[in-house]
């Protein structure tokens, strides 16, 4: 079996254990080959240039540059790159952002390996792949009012355990403005308190852990 017929896969994930699992799955397939692994965004860029894989599996959460930004960077250089986002969570905002950025597929790590390899084959064949449950999740929040950049920034600070006053100082705005932002955030997310707002935001992929 020559390399030419195999689907050449690049796996980008910062967890060695997980890369090991994915390597086992890919290399177990007769028609696939794991050509390289990368642990972060810049490594991904480098290895992509080097190997020019057919399909790239990209973790959403990477140290430094995150998965979506890495995807954008790669596609800026290689517009034909077929990248599948592989993540632990099904946040609708992240799915949307990834798809807008040109991801060909969006998969959960917890899906059975069969689905993963099936998706790789489909994407390699030029199709897009989003599992039904994720699509439903995406549809659920379609048309929801999205948070502004500033609100997301405030929310990120809230999740970091900052008080309103600290947030105000860091963003060079008044405490009152922070309060207004938080009020809007809670309204948009349908949260009743700060914890819930953070939890919802994390779940929907508005902010990352």
């Amino acid at each position: 079996m020559s390399d030419q017929n195999n689907i050449r896969v690049l796996c980008v994930d910062d967890h060695p254990l997980l890369r090991e699992g994915i390597a086992a799955i890919i290399n177990h397939q007769p028609d696939m080959l794991l050509v390289a692994e990368a642990a972060n965004g810049s490594e991904a860029m480098q290895t992509f240039r080097e190997h020019q894989p057919d399909v790239t599996l990209m973790d959403l959460r990477l140290p430094g540059m995150n998965g979506i930004d890495s995807l954008i960077a790669i596609r800026a250089e290689f517009p034909e790159a077929r990248i599948i986002m592989l993540t632990t969570y099904e946040g609708d905002v992240e799915i949307q952002r990834a798809l807008e950025a040109g991801a060909r597929g969006y998969l959960l790590k917890s899906m059975p390996p069969k689905e993963l390899v099936e998706a790789i084959r489909q994407v390699h064949a030029g199709k897009k792949r989003i599992p039904a449950e994720l699509a439903a999740h995406l549809a659920e929040h379609m048309g929801d009012e999205s948070l502004t950049e500033r609100e997301i920034e405030v929310l990120r600070h809230v999740s970091g355990g900052n008080r309103n006053r600290d947030i105000a100082e860091r963003l060079f705005i008044s405490e009152e403005t922070v309060k207004v932002h938080i009020k809007h955030i809670m309204e948009k997310l349908g949260a009743t308190d700060r914890t819930q707002a953070v939890a919802i935001a994390v779940r929907r992929g508005i902010i990352q852990l």
Binding site: G21, Y89, K109, S110, G160, T192, V202, R203
Partner: protein, 397 residues
């Protein structure tokens, strides 16, 4: 005869004058009297008055009463001169009563006497007056308005300090709330990074291993089971990370959380049931209309309650437990009543003194332990409403 009329008239007049004289005895008035005092050598006051109708040469002798009467102002200075305008004035030692005598020259006053002389001979008039009552003119701090103002000031100070303390506690609570939020995020992140990714990888390997097995392999079934378990763990892990759920019943309200304790503490219960063959009665009661609690308070009250229950069950051998969660306008109250096995409430005191009391204090709560009967105890925890309840009433689902 005619000549004698003026003489008679004159005589009558003169006689009349002389005749009426005893009616017009001189009088002594006091215009200023020192305060009434037990007396003593140290304090002096001013006594003033008038001697009306006194004749020239007559003088005033003063006494002050301190048990007996003492001549004033000093034993070697006993006579006070009446001024031409009939007034007199002198210093005097303090006494309960004061006496002024109008005397003819030649009167020799005693330095000390048990009873004042009566007017006769050289003593013309004896006048006495009690000392001024001390409280007759109240000082400003004795006036009603001063006391009222003082009372209000005290109340105000108390309220202010109470509010200050509440505000301090609330601020502390908020700081801790933020800290806890950050901590949860960190824990969630760690869970995501380590456990979850490891499990995901292991699950992938397991899938591959199972796929390789022949369909009729005897181990296939058990491996399938392991795989299902792992999937469940992964799912739970994901939920935990996404929901940032703490280990305590986070999304539950207080009464729900307490109702669930029973299941959590089911093991000792079963053991006891086997050993003693007796069932523990466990009840959760809600008083008042439940209101959304500050998350920190809910967690803390839950933990305090849980600790008490564990103690009650394990150490005092409680048979019956009743938990009452009371939502009042001014405070949140948690009452735990235990019916035990003869180990009394004292058994719980040392533990309460240390950990639980400290916990209660940190959230501004008061805790009381009362022995109800020989075998039962009542523990009451009360948290001020301002601290306990969330401001946005009705914002909860």
């Amino acid at each position: 005869m005619k000549r004698s009329l003026p003489i008679i008239l004159c005589c009558v007049l003169l006689g009349g004058c002389r005749w009426r004289q005893p009616d017009h005895l001189p009088e002594i008035e006091f215009s200023k009297v020192p305060i009434a005092d037990a007396g003593g050598g140290a304090q002096l006051g001013i006594i003033e008055g008038r001697a009306i109708g006194a004749r020239p040469g007559q003088q005033i002798v003063l006494f002050a009463r301190s048990g007996a009467w003492y001549v004033q102002p000093f034993a070697d200075q006993q006579f006070i001169t009446i001024l031409p305008d009939s007034t007199w004035k002198s210093a005097t030692h303090l006494g309960t009563e004061y006496a002024a005598l109008l005397v003819e020259p030649g009167y020799l006053p005693p330095a000390k006497t048990d009873s004042l002389p009566t007017p006769s001979g050289t003593v013309i008039v004896v006048a006495t007056t009690p000392g001024e009552a001390r409280l007759l003119v109240p000082m400003f701090w004795q006036s009603w308005w001063f006391r009222l103002t003082g009372g209000f000031a005290c109340i105000f100070a108390l309220v202010a300090s109470y509010r200050l303390r509440i505000r301090h506690l609330t601020r502390q609570m908020n700081v801790r709330f933020e800290e806890r939020l950050a901590e949860r995020m960190r824990i969630a992140q760690e869970l995501h990074d380590t456990l979850l990714q490891g499990f995901l990888s292991a699950s992938m390997h397991m899938h591959l291993a199972v796929e390789r097995l022949p369909d009729d392999s005897p181990v296939r079934q058990s491996l399938d089971h392991v795989q299902q378990l792992m999937e469940r763990v992964i799912e739970e892990g994901q939920n935990t990370v996404r929901g940032l759920r703490s280990i305590t019943a986070d999304s539950l309200n207080l009464e729900q959380a307490f109702s669930r304790i029973q299941q959590e503490l089911i093991i000792p219960k079963e053991i006891r049931q086997k050993e003693i063959g007796e069932q523990i009665e466990f009840r959760v009661i809600v008083e008042g209309k439940p209101r959304p609690l500050h998350p920190i308070i809910r967690d803390e009250v839950y933990r305090i309650g849980r600790e008490i229950l564990v103690k009650a069950l394990r150490h005092s051998g409680a048979r019956g437990i009743e938990i009452e969660v009371g939502y009042a306008a001014s405070h949140l109250r948690l009452i735990i009543r235990t019916e035990g096995y003869g180990i009394e409430s004292e058994a719980m005191q040392p533990g309460l003194d240390a950990g639980i009391r400290e916990r209660a204090e940190r959230i501004g709560a008061r805790i009381k332990v009362r022995k109800r009967s020989k075998t039962g105890a009542k523990i009451e925890l009360s948290v001020p409403g301002r601290i306990a309840f969330e401001k946005r009433a009705g914002a909860g689902n």
